[in-house]
Structures are given as structure tokens and as C-alpha cells.
């Protein structure tokens, strides 16, 4: 029976910390505020926005929803970001993505219009440079930060540990590799072109799986004593007696009896990301 690394407890710890900071700021007349920019009414954007607004409410952060037409032009969206840069009442800006299709070719130009100091989910080049350089420029992306929070909360020291990261995306794989290496872990980054990921994973002390592929992390990837951080959130049509539900990369019922500890999906990493986002907003407000 593996220890379950539950996001809930981590969440509560972060929320407590963030609430205290918000109270402190408010006593000084500063009310931290997050602007959420959404283009169109994509249901998953609406759901994410709802979750973020609710979480902000829990910790006392003000939110401002900016809903733009899905057909918005590049120039208008950039101009919206510029006005948020200027708006001193706004500390952090979350632009929901993916952007509408007609804007994707210009996504780089659009996201970099945001002041990196308000870039609480690491979409600008400068924020990404901060993750790579290990410098405090903007904020790291929320999901890899959530992984680090979970490791910290459960007292898992990564120094000198061999860690296999599966996935090389800019939202999880690459940044989590940088953050783990900054804590002196020895990191191997696997991806779709890696030969025999299972063998590499078995050698690791810790596996961070961000493949985004349901059932991709089977029993042959693990051994006794390992810690598994399952970052992915995949749709599993067979879950809940065929009603479908969320699941990670891990074949949980195969792996859980073997390893030492594992994050469940749902209830693991995903449960911590919006708390991390709120902490970024507060840090942005503190930095003013």
C-alpha cells in the first residue's frame, strides 16, 4: 500500500500562508487582485475561471473577469493586456489559453505584451527565462510549482536523487526539470522519442509523469521504494463504471501496490495549481 500524496493537505497549507499574507497586505491598504482574461466561452475556460474565482475568494484575493469576444483581433487583445499593465489595481493577469484559433500564429507576440511582473502563470519569454536561469523574473508556471509544493509538504528531499521526468513541455516537463535540478536532483528528461522509457523510469528514485497519456505509466515502469508524481489529467471513458472521469498517466491499481508513495488523480497535483496561482498574485502584490 503506497502512501497517498494528497493535494488537499498541501492546498490547505498554501491557502493558510496566502491568506495570512493577504491579511497583512490589506492592513497596509493593498488589496491583491487577479484579472482573468478569457476570449470566448469555451466550457473548459469557463470552468477554470470559475475554479480560480472561487479559490481567490477563499484566500481573500479580488478577481476581475474580463470576457472578450472569441473573434477579438490581435491588436485589441494586445491593447487589453497593455491596459492591464498600466492598471495599478491589478497585480496578476491570467490569460486563458489556448487562444482562439485565429490568434494562435501570433500567440508569442500576444503573450509577451504582458508585463512579466504581472505574468502569474509564466507565459512570457522573460518569465520562462527566470525558470531556466534560476532567477526571480516573473513567476514559474503553476503546475511544476505545485509539484515542488507537494514534495516540500511531504518532506521529500530531492538532493542527489535520480529523477525521471516524462514529458518535455514548457508547462510541465522542462520547467519541473529545471526546478528539480536547482534543488540538486539529477534529472533525466524522457519524451516521445526516448528509447525504453520504462527502463529509465525504473532506475529513478522519483518519477514525475507528465506524458498526458492515459495508462502510459504501467507496472513495468516502477519498482519498490519509488515516489510517483502523476501530473497528467486525462479523460478516462471507462472510469466510474463507464460514466468516465479524470485519471492520470499511471495505471493506478497496478502501481500503487508496488511503490512507496503516489499522487492520485484527481486529488493530487491538479488540486494544488490554483493555490500556487494565488500565491503568485500575492507575491506580485508584495513586489509592487
Amino acid at each position: 500500500m503506497a502512501k497517498l500524496l494528497l493535494g488537499k493537505a498541501v492546498n490547505e497549507a498554501i491557502n493558510h500562508r496566502v491568506s495570512q499574507k493577504v491579511d497583512f497586505l490589506k492592513r497596509q491598504g493593498i488589496a491583491p487582485r487577479l484579472a482573468i482574461v478569457r476570449c470566448g466561452d469555451n466550457p473548459s475556460d469557463v470552468a477554470y475561471e470559475k475554479g480560480a474565482v472561487k479559490k481567490a475568494g477563499v484566500v481573500g484575493i479580488e478577481t476581475q473577469r474580463i470576457v472578450l469576444p472569441e473573434s477579438i483581433s490581435k491588436a485589441d487583445l494586445i491593447s487589453q493586456l497593455h491596459s492591464l499593465n498600466q492598471d495599478e489595481s491589478v497585480d496578476g493577469v491570467l490569460l486563458l489559453r489556448p487562444l482562439p484559433k485565429h490568434l494562435r500564429a501570433d500567440e508569442g507576440e500576444i503573450v509577451n505584451a504582458l508585463d512579466y511582473r504581472k505574468d502569474v502563470d509564466c507565459m512570457t519569454d522573460l518569465s520562462n527565462a527566470g525558470v531556466y536561469l534560476g532567477k526571480e523574473i516573473g513567476f514559474p508556471p503553476c503546475t511544476p510549482s505545485a509539484v515542488m509544493e507537494i514534495l516540500d509538504y511531504y518532506g521529500i528531499d530531492v538532493k542527489g536523487k535520480n529523477i525521471t521526468v516524462i514529458g518535455r513541455s514548457l508547462v510541465v516537463g522542462k520547467p519541473v526539470a529545471m526546478m528539480l535540478m536547482a534543488r540538486h536532483a539529477t534529472v533525466t528528461i524522457c519524451h516521445t522519442r526516448t528509447v525504453d522509457v520504462a527502463a529509465i523510469a525504473r532506475r529513478a528514485d522519483i518519477i514525475v509523469s507528465a506524458a498526458g497519456a492515459l495508462g502510459s505509466l504501467g507496472a513495468d515502469f516502477v519498482r519498490e521504494g519509488q515516489i510517483i508524481i502523476d501530473v497528467s489529467v486525462n479523460w478516462d471513458p471507462g472510469k466510474r463504471d463507464g460514466q468516465g472521469g479524470m485519471a492520470g498517466d499511471a495505471v493506478f491499481e497496478e502501481i500503487e501496490p508496488i511503490v512507496e508513495a503516489i499522487t492520485p488523480v484527481p486529488g493530487g497535483v491538479g488540486a494544488v495549481t490554483t493555490s500556487v496561482l494565488m500565491e503568485h498574485v500575492v507575491k506580485a502584490a508584495e513586489g509592487k
Copy 2:
């Protein structure tokens, strides 16, 4: 007997390519120009500058030496970089580092004063972001680019290969890991806190050693069939019958009989870096 991956042949290929591009630009009235900024008369800076000026001459790139007093203030150095940003006759700027001691605390602010489009040796945050993001922002650092040039020249495809990078610096280890991963290699980054680097190195198909530690790569790190890229340039007091000389991380006489191919030091990676620098200057000129 290992195949020697000599820098000279790679150099000649790059120089040929760069000379042709310079000729083409000159026929259009564009004369690519590199400004080399030096603070003080540190002998290793003077030597590097001399090498760069000579190499530039070989490929037809103009150079402009800017020698500033070692005691220069931060404001004056930044103002010098700003004027080079404005100077349309200058395509690339190389600021020799390390900076004088009194400027090091402000090094981040100073180097970021340079326009990333003229940052031919990757000192700005935005150029580094480019390496991490795999986007064309500025230019990657010259040494890891030289490693990639050597691999390309000798027809070594890294796709799907397991590569152990030893060292996690921003001038070699991290960027070469990013560049190799972009070519679909599976990379493990080892460093001073890694447990049993030798075992990890032995499992690799290719080892890129940038430890900067004389004799750190011994026979126990390698096995038959491997390719060794020795990036470091260390001073070896015992070389040349005790006169001293340059040497890499590898204990060359131990490793060379075992592995398939190896870069010598000197005459390997180091011999290629200034050619890469010149190619960056030409690309900067082409981008205008």
C-alpha cells in the same frame, strides 16, 4: 583506437559557409561588424580578443575594439552598450567577461542593457529564454553551439540517444542539454551533487563533459562504443614534460583506447567556438 573528432575540419566548414555569407552581404553593401568590449587589460581577455579579431579577419567580418578602463562605472558601461545598440554599423557585441569585480553584483542589469538582437554570445535573459524555449530569440551561447556543430559535421545523429551531460552551467551544461533535447535526445544532466556520475555516464551513448575538472572523466566512466565530447579546457601543470598545457576533463590516454570517438583538448570543441561566434554576427547582420 578512437576516432578523433577534430575541431579543425569543423572550423573550416563553418568558415567557408560564413565567408560565403559575408561575401553575399558585402555585395549588397552590408559589412558585418562585431564590436568587442573589454574592461581593463586582463591577459585572458586580451588573448580572447586577439583570437576573435584574427578569426573575424579570416571570414571578412569587421571588428571594432572598445577598450574601457577597468574602473569603469556601471552607468558608463551601460551607456556604452546603449550606444552600441543604437549604432547601425554594429551587428554583434561581445562583452568580455567576467567583468571587473566592482561590477559583478550588477552584472545582470549590465548585460541586459544590450539589445538581444546584437547579443551574439547569449548573455541577456531573452537570449537565454530562446535556448530554453527553442525559439529564435537572440543567439545561443557559442560553446554548446560548437558541440552541435561537431556532432553535425561528423554525422552523429542524437535522436533517441541517451546522453549524459556533466555540468549544469548556463554557458555549457544547461544550454547543451536543451539543444540536444530539441534534437530528440534523452538527456541526463549530472553535476556536483549527483551520486555516482560514473555509473550514469557508462549507460550513455554520448557523454558531454563540461565539469571543468582536470582528470575527472576516467576509464570507469566509459565503455566501448561511446562518443565523448570533452568541452572543458583545464590547465594541466604536468603536460608537455612539466611545462604545463591545456587539457580536458578526460584522462585521454585511459579513455581513448576504449571509446569509439572523442574530441581532443586542445583541438576539439574549443577550436570551433569563435567560428560559431562569427556565424552569429553574420546572422545578426542578415536579420537587420
